[in-house]
Amino acid sequence: MTANRLIALLLGIGTASMVGADGGDAAIERSEQVVRESFAGATPEEWKARLAQDRTQAMCSRYHNAPSTDVAASIVAEALGSIRYPEDGKLLGDWKEGEKLASIGTGGHIGKLQPDPPDRKRGGNCYACHTLAVEEVAAGNLGPSLTHYGKLRGNAPETVKYVYEKIYNAQAYLPCSLMPRFGHNGWLTPKEIADAVAFLLDPESPVNQ
């Protein structure tokens, strides 16, 4: 890694076309050109914004989710700095609301073929990737099982904080984690994240039965 590149990384101004020392630059530049052409019909600003990559996305793409130590450290630092907390400071919300969010997989679809109504509830869709309550058999396994999460770990303040931060921006703990940065990207609100935390940690939650 050259000094310039390192500086660019640390300053957080690296873009996809600036990084990469192993001949991948050309392919990425070419693929970005293809994206511009193939998605030319995506004219609304919000649609264009969804195609634009932030620095973390560009890095994780460029390095196939296996960043070097330096890049990883810069991603973690940026992620930790991004976390915001609920205004009332309550990180442990209502597990019943969290349970609903865990099941909802719709909301936020755009495009011309099958968009969601703009006001459609956006869920966390946790069950798509994680086993949570034992009785829900239709649970995915892209992420680890979270069954009995609170029962096994308790709900001490530091645990609550960790779980909140992990959901808010998973890359604060695992750079290029496959998990969406729910809070950072504004997909879920801090309050919704607190509800999801409760679904995982509340002793009453079906996750801990």
Binding site: S103, G105, T106, G123, N125, Y127, A128, V137, A138
Partner: protein
């Protein structure tokens, strides 16, 4: 499930005891509008049944325990009862309970396969008529939520 099964049995016996139904309701020539429009199991049985129904191992309802999509749930019904005259498929929690009635003439084996839509997880009944009597098999089929789109 046991509980439901008993209710169903009780219901069928009640209907039969009351002599509410003509035999051979499944004539192919005319579509049984009332039966297909029926939204309640008891009402449907009034429209369909004759003879004391009983759960029987001689009726096999073969299907998956879990269907990936409720729009297409494959089912096979095979009756080992002599002279099976008809086979009906009932889906307890569908808006209309009766899915289909198959009339089996002599020379045709009482072994049919089809695919049905299920609105939600529930019991599915295969009801066979043989010698004027009704026998059934029941199976709970779970309809699961789908992939990334929820």
């Amino acid at each position: 499930m046991q509980h439901r099964r008993r209710d169903f049995l009780k219901l069928l016996s009640l209907m039969a005891a009351a002599g509410l139904l003509p035999a051979g309701a499944a004539r192919a020539e005319e579509w049984n509008k009332a039966a297909f429009g029926s939204k309640k199991l008891d009402e449907l049985m009034k429209l369909l049944g004759a003879g004391a129904p009983q759960q029987s191992d001689l009726v096999a309802l073969i299907g998956p325990e879990i269907a990936e999509n409720g729009a297409v749930v494959p089912l096979e019904v095979e009756s080992k009862l002599l002279d099976t005259e008809s086979i009906a498929i009932l889906i307890e929690k569908n808006p209309n309970i009766l899915a289909g009635i198959f009339t089996i003439p002599s020379g045709t084996l009482p072994d049919i396969q089809t695919r049905v839509k299920m609105a939600e997880t529930c019991n599915v009944y295969a009801l066979a008529t043989a010698g004027g009597k009704r026998y059934f098999a029941v199976k709970e089929i779970k309809v699961t939520l789908g992939g990334c789109g929820g």
